[in-house]
């Protein structure tokens, strides 16, 4: 299908984008467009105005700042995939990146767009949650920071206010004792996951501490399996599987029961990755 008619404008600054969002309540921001344009083509969305933010300077880039990796909202997936900073300091993102769409999608899709769109089956929102990262947003009242645990509110719903623009995400840089794991099951490489799991932890003696298990494709938002986190920190993989406190709804890909089973399969795989010494 073809999109319904809309007007288009290029914002030259974040302030201008925020002002335009205030003037046009049903406008949408256009970043990489890899989800938005698909929804426009399918007429799942019909905004009156697209505000293209691709021309705004300073919204892309990856930098290590004060113990965190800051990734600008307009950073393309392909740039993150090739980034030495990402590979060294946020290995979870490096593990997840090849699973996000396909090359042609990663060349356009942006980190900020993926997080702001908050598809419950997408990889990056779950990675942000697993890493206990944060989102930086700018709005009419200025800048604010939102913790990942407080960011994902519902199906495609985030803590961003209507006039706010996501400008960057920040991810704690991995230390020597950091461990990460990532696995997903999809019908075809690069498709949205049937179920996926992004995880981080800290090596502590022979075990793990601060375990964060963020599942995707199992509910309206990426979800932490907190009981399994505690069980895994106590050292029991099978106990962690048994403690999985998820209740995935059926969807077009699989029934909830199948998803629940697959969540356990992924937990065993990811637990193995978390327990590997860091290379």
């Amino acid at each position: 299908m073809k999109p319904a008619p809309f007007a288009y404008t290029k914002a030259r600054s974040i302030e201008q984008a925020i002002a335009l969002l205030g003037e046009h309540r049903d406008a949408r921001l256009l970043a990489g467009g890899q989800s938005l344009i698909a929804t426009l083509n399918m007429r799942l969305s019909a905004p009156s105005l697209l505000i293209d933010i691709n021309g705004i300077d300073g919204l892309d880039g990856i930098a290590l700042k004060g113990g965190a990796v800051e990734v600008g909202a307009l950073t393309r997936h392909a740039s993150a995939e090739r980034s030495a900073t990402i590979a060294q300091h946020t290995p979870l993102i490096a593990r997840a990146m090849p699973h996000i769409g396909h090359v042609a999608i990663r060349n356009r899709g942006t980190i900020g767009g993926s997080v702001a769109f908050a598809d419950p089956a997408a990889e990056l929102p779950a990675c942000l949650l697993a890493l206990n990262g944060e989102v930086e947003a700018s709005g009419p009242k200025g800048k604010r920071t939102i913790k990942a645990d407080d960011f994902f509110k519902g199906l495609f719903e985030t803590a961003l206010a209507p006039q706010e623009v996501l400008t960057a995400i920040r991810l704690p840089a991995a230390g020597i004792d950091s461990r990460t794991g990532f696995a997903e099951l999809a019908r075809r490489h690069g498709d949205y996951a049937i179920v996926g799991l992004a995880a981080s932890a800290r090596a502590s003696g022979k075990g793990l501490a601060d375990v964060r298990l963020a599942y995707f494709g199992v509910g309206a938002t990426p979800l932490r399996a907190k009981k399994s986190e505690a069980a895994l920190a106590d050292g029991g993989i099978e106990e962690a599987v048994a403690a999985l406190d998820l209740d995935p709804p059926d969807d077009v890909q699989a029934t909830g029961a199948v998803k629940k089973h697959l969540a356990g399969v992924l937990l065993r795989r990811v637990a193995g990755q978390l327990m590997e010494p860091r290379r």
Binding site: M1, K2, P3, A4, P5, F6, A7, Y8, T9, L20, L30, G33, Q34, I37, A38, L40, N41, M42, L49, L50, D52, N54, A78, P98, G101, H102, V103, A104, I105, N107, R108, R188, H189, G190, D191
Partner: protein, 162 residues
Amino acid sequence: MSEHALDISLTVNGEPVAERVEARRTLVDFLREDLSLTGSHIGCEHGVCGACTVRVDGEIVRGCLILAVQCDGAKVETIEGLSDSGELADLQAAFEQRNALQCGYCTPGMLAAAQDLLKGGVVPSRDEIRAHISGNYCRCTGYHAIVDAIEAVAQQRAGGKR
């Protein structure tokens, strides 16, 4: 300010193009409908099938997930340009020799994706070839012949350089 139709100028297959386009026009519709470059195909129109794969500023993209107005000032290359330049001639020959196409609908996008993988003279493994073309659906061949053709060209090109 915001408009429903905008003037754009860009380069398509090396030729300068200036047109007025509707904001909602996707790049692949612009190429097919306004420029009559019908080599880029339309399958799903939501980024899943890869039939509309074209190059923008040297990188492959989905022609259905980028608006023509976003390509103002860009350098766009379609299968017509890639074919005319001879850049893909060996891949095209290998596809033909190995029956790596039947109906041919996916072929323009498949060739663009394959050429992207082989840029820089790499010789990918069969698994890497499969991962790279995972975004391009083919409903005829079962992919084996496509993987064979891409692998053969990768080896030929590497051999030719020695």
